[in-house]
């Protein structure tokens, strides 16, 4: 894909989350311009690629693993990425996404798709990917190399981590940069 073979292949993925972590990524502002010189963004909501590509160097994964589709994608990510980063609280802890874990799936779907204000009806359920019994933090589904907590992780954290990785250094976050929430 990329003409410059030296560029790092970066992917981002959006599982069960609100996309806030991706928004925070966009908040990198001018750093994005610097970044884009060093990396190719090869997959994710920010670019238009249908399939998760091979040979990804770094993948930032937002969101908890909450349905079968998430799980399949998580596995593809693991198989094809060198470094997988749990990106934001939903991926790291399950966070808000996992607040449904106490509720039986059946009750949950009934409440959302049948009793909610705009009923969608049973038919549409057939196209929804099946929910897992519990929304899982990413590392309980696949092996994770680095944790970047925060809801969302602020741009400073993202910059610190990504810069270190691009420079081939070990990522060291100061305590105040690794708080949940």
């Amino acid at each position: 894909m990329s003409q410059n073979s030296k560029k790092v292949r970066l992917a981002t993925a959006w599982l069960g989350g609100c996309s806030g972590c991706h928004m925070s990524f966009l908040d990198l502002d001018e750093l994005l311009i610097e970044l884009i010189e060093k990396v190719d963004i090869v997959y994710g909501p920010l670019v238009d690629h249908k399939e998760f590509p091979e040979d990804v160097d770094i993948c930032l994964v937002e969101g908890a693993v909450t349905n079968v589709e998430n799980l399949e994608l998580a596995r593809q990510i693991r198989t094809n990425s060198k470094i997988v980063i749990s990106f934001g609280d939903c991926a790291v802890t399950g966070n808000v996404t996992s607040m449904r874990n106490r509720i039986p799936i059946k009750d949950l779907l009934t409440a959302v798709y049948h009793e909610a204000q705009a009923p969608i009806g049973a038919e549409s359920l057939k196209v929804l990917p099946a929910l897992l019994k519990k929304a899982l933090p990413l590392h309980q589904a696949i092996k994770v190399d680095l944790y970047l907590p925060g809801c969302p992780p602020d741009p400073e954290r993202i910059a610190t981590a990504v810069t270190a990785l691009l420079e081939g250094r070990e990522v060291e976050l100061a305590p105040q940069m690794r708080t949940f929430g």
Binding site: S86, D89, V92, T93, G94, N95, V96, S98, M99, N101, R102, K134, P137, H139, Q140, V144, Y147, P149, C151, P175, Q176, M177, R178, T179, F180, G181
Partner: protein, 238 residues
Amino acid sequence: MPVITLTIDDELVSARAGQSILEACREHGIKIPTLCNLDGLSARGGCRLCLVEVAGNPRLLPACTTEALENMVVTTHNEKIDRYRRMILELTFAERNHTCAVCVSNQHCELQTLAAELGMDHVRYDYLNPELGLDTSHARYGVDHNRCVLCLRCVRVCDEVEGAHTWDVKGRGIESRVITDLNRPWGDSESCTECGKCVEVCPTGALFDKGSAVAEMKKEASFLRRILDGREKNEWRR
């Protein structure tokens, strides 16, 4: 008061006889993580974060309840102790629903800070996701059992400092819950003096001022030392 000498982390330090290892460490600026402990309240030894190694003792001992003794050799940090502390935090986070992002105490929470400081960045155990309630029957305060870590600071401050003993614990094991009076809504409590000490000493967002939104609940427990010094050292004259 007689003074004793002991070694903490390879350094010779002095302490007053009768002091706990934790107190001795604090006076010398040696940091040991704690959660259930609070200066001014009785020591409990429940959170297990302040466990230290004492030479000659095969078991790790809680620094808060273990008396510092002459010639004791104490290690407060090493690979094993640090790992255990992180694992204990993992268990604490897995026990209830600490969804930091939507907590009133977000960014002002002792548990959250401990996890960041000790490098506990993910939980490997199953989150237990218990079904827990919220009691907002009190006019001024609320209790959210989802955030409670059972440090029992509220129980102790209410009993030891305020003297009301409104709080206690019901049940046991994983079913333990803090309660007011006969497990009635807090707002109906006959013994509660509404002093709010319990809220201020609570390390997490379990006890909060009503009306606080996410990240708005800041707490200040330093009043405790002032009250106690005033009382015990007769600093406050009548």
